[in-house]
Symmetry: C2
Subunit: 182 residues, 2 copies
């Protein structure tokens, strides 16, 4: 039996199978018996890392985002490789993008970025015990590293340079901790 | 001239043009002159609403999310109609989904949900002066309304029932305010 809210998938068609996403068109039966369609984007999932320096600054990367047509400031992040453990991915992406090697990764929260059309889940971690190493970004990845205080991060949010979900969550989480709630 | 981080789109192909999303495959020139492809999902954008009741509880909706295959708890939200003002959309979606009419809508923050592959922007508002009216959900939308204290919301986050970006941002924002930082 379906609950009062659940939908049942009647038919499923793959529209596009790319290197990052897979797009699927579902025909569904609604809780009242009528039918509708759902457009669904499958994504492998990703991690984001809050990495604090010894001076208490947070490490950001500046990166061009093609879907937005602009360069924005984000926490270090990257998508999961097939079968990869999210924590291992967090260690890897932090080092690749920023050169920082961390001693420890602590999970903070995981969330779906856009549950209306995508299954992407983002696992947020806090890196502890940073050691400066060497950056090794992916061959098609061009990033600049920037370290900001909380006040500077809020200013960049006001300006719209910090403007993506995981980084807004990171800044609010950081603020909570500074206020004594984290 | 391109900056050191920017990409240039060489070719653009529309893969799928649905009722909600449009999927596009771009061939891009990277900052170092090599080429790569980018898979991009276009989305009309959306709003999410923090609506506090007179008792200081926050209004949530429970909704089945097909991409996740489960029912989750979110703040009231919905996608922008073509040409719709985000604030007008916030008033409309809050009333449709919860029955609450608001006197005022105050913008909190806007963010891209998943800048690696989508251009969806989410505008977060705070509703003030709620008056209970009548719910009028979309014909293919089935939601249940639930009102929670901050402590209850954190418990639902721990349990994984609150698990999407906009709602996690909303709960952290609320916590900041309670701690005296908002």
């Amino acid at each position: 039996m379906l609950s009062d809210l659940e939908e049942k998938t009647i038919r499923r068609r793959t529209i596009f199978d790319g290197k990052l996403i897979r797009v699927q068109l579902d025909e569904v039966e609604l809780p009242d018996g009528r039918t509708s369609t759902r457009e669904i984007v499958h994504h492998p999932g990703a991690v984001g890392v809050l990495a604090f320096t010894d001076e208490g600054k947070l490490v950001f990367v500046r990166q061009y985002r093609n879907p937005l047509g602009k360069t924005i400031l984000e926490i270090p992040a990257g998508k999961l490789e097939p079968g990869e453990d999210p924590k291992a991915c967090a260690f890897r992406e932090l080092e690749e993008e920023t050169g920082y090697r961390a001693e420890e990764m602590r999970p903070i929260v995981s969330f779906y970025t856009s549950p209306g059309f995508a299954d992407e889940i983002l696992h947020l971690y806090e890196a502890r015990g940073l050691q400066k190493g060497e950056r090794r970004p992916d061959t098609d990845e061009f990033v600049e590293v920037e370290e900001l205080t909380l006040q500077e991060a809020f200013a960049k949010m006001e300006e719209g340079q910090i403007c993506d979900a995981k980084t807004v969550v990171a800044v609010y989480f950081w603020h909570n901790r500074v206020l004594g709630g984290g």
